[in-house]
Symmetry: C3
Subunit: 144 residues, 3 copies
Amino acid sequence: MPHLVILYTSNLEADTNMTVLCRSLADTMLTVEDEAGKQVFPTGGVRVLAYPAAHYAIADGGEAGRAAGGSGDYGFIYLNLRMGRGRSDAVKQQAGQALQKTAMDHLQPLLELKPVGVTFQIDEGPEVFDSKNSSLHPLFKKDR
Amino acid sequence: MPHLVILYTSNLEADTNMTVLCRSLADTMLTVEDEAGKQVFPTGGVRVLAYPAAHYAIADGGEAGRAAGGSGDYGFIYLNLRMGRGRSDAVKQQAGQALQKTAMDHLQPLLELKPVGVTFQIDEGPEVFDSKNSSLHPLFKKDR
Amino acid sequence: MPHLVILYTSNLEADTNMTVLCRSLADTMLTVEDEAGKQVFPTGGVRVLAYPAAHYAIADGGEAGRAAGGSGDYGFIYLNLRMGRGRSDAVKQQAGQALQKTAMDHLQPLLELKPVGVTFQIDEGPEVFDSKNSSLHPLFKKDR
């Protein structure tokens, strides 16, 4: 935790560089600070994973897009950050605004290329059991 | 929002047409109306994504299926709709029943072909941050 | 339900056998018993699905790993079990501990090979609609 998972329609694979988007979002996560100026997301805990869907269907299937003179090829990107409980609402909003800006800076050209919907949501973990094991965190000694 | 994500074992890929299932479910979502006869899921917000799992394990691994004279090849399909908060319980149940019917109309032949478990669940979004950007929604002017 | 979904960085695909991990976790799920000695997860309901991410970014992107003399190639594995509501906290903790042990028995060599973070969380289903259809469960007559 935290981790950000991106689900998207595979027709966008050639239109935007998802590896670059993952890295940009991870970099943004590393910059979020709380009210006391402390890094919110520990470096070793920042993870972004992106998954193109093998199959999908969107909206009306393309009819309105074709009627508007386009190809009817729609896209969808869903970004979902799951973070630990206990952060202030201000931190959640700040993280959300920063990540949304990073995502849209990257995705704006794509939205101009074709009809694409982007939804970004943050969930607070509702977990009833939580365990972590890591050979990664020791590389970042200042991590909480 | 809303979006419906389908996770399934990849051994079902050749047995059923998941792209057709995605489209059928999207079409069903478009037909759901609330108590006032208003479309519940805005057209531009309807998205169905399906993901075959690269690796999986189910139940006893096939022993009971082979003992019953079958191949022991089991399948699993999980359908999960995440919808926005604030709908009435009646709307949730109506959407659930309609989508379940569409799913099973499509999947019944598969369940007769081999032992397959299908679970369909609707979650209400617990998000603490929510943003949307879209070049798709403008195609559907009546969308809320 | 229950099902366990594993999301992981695709750079781990050659380093560990995820199909074996799925099976080991499913076997462990089958052994979990409640206070009365009754099997917690019905056999036909045990499913483990694993998904390598097509794109990803982790932590600082490898800088600290390279500074420490390694390749900077980090990995991440997220295991998430969603189980039905209504279990006792003791059962949740017992299931969590058992599954965590199975996961780490399998993954420890991987964590020694490269910097890898492993997070395992159990969620209780917050579903507002739930339906099940199965041609698998009838194979396990004792299933609840």
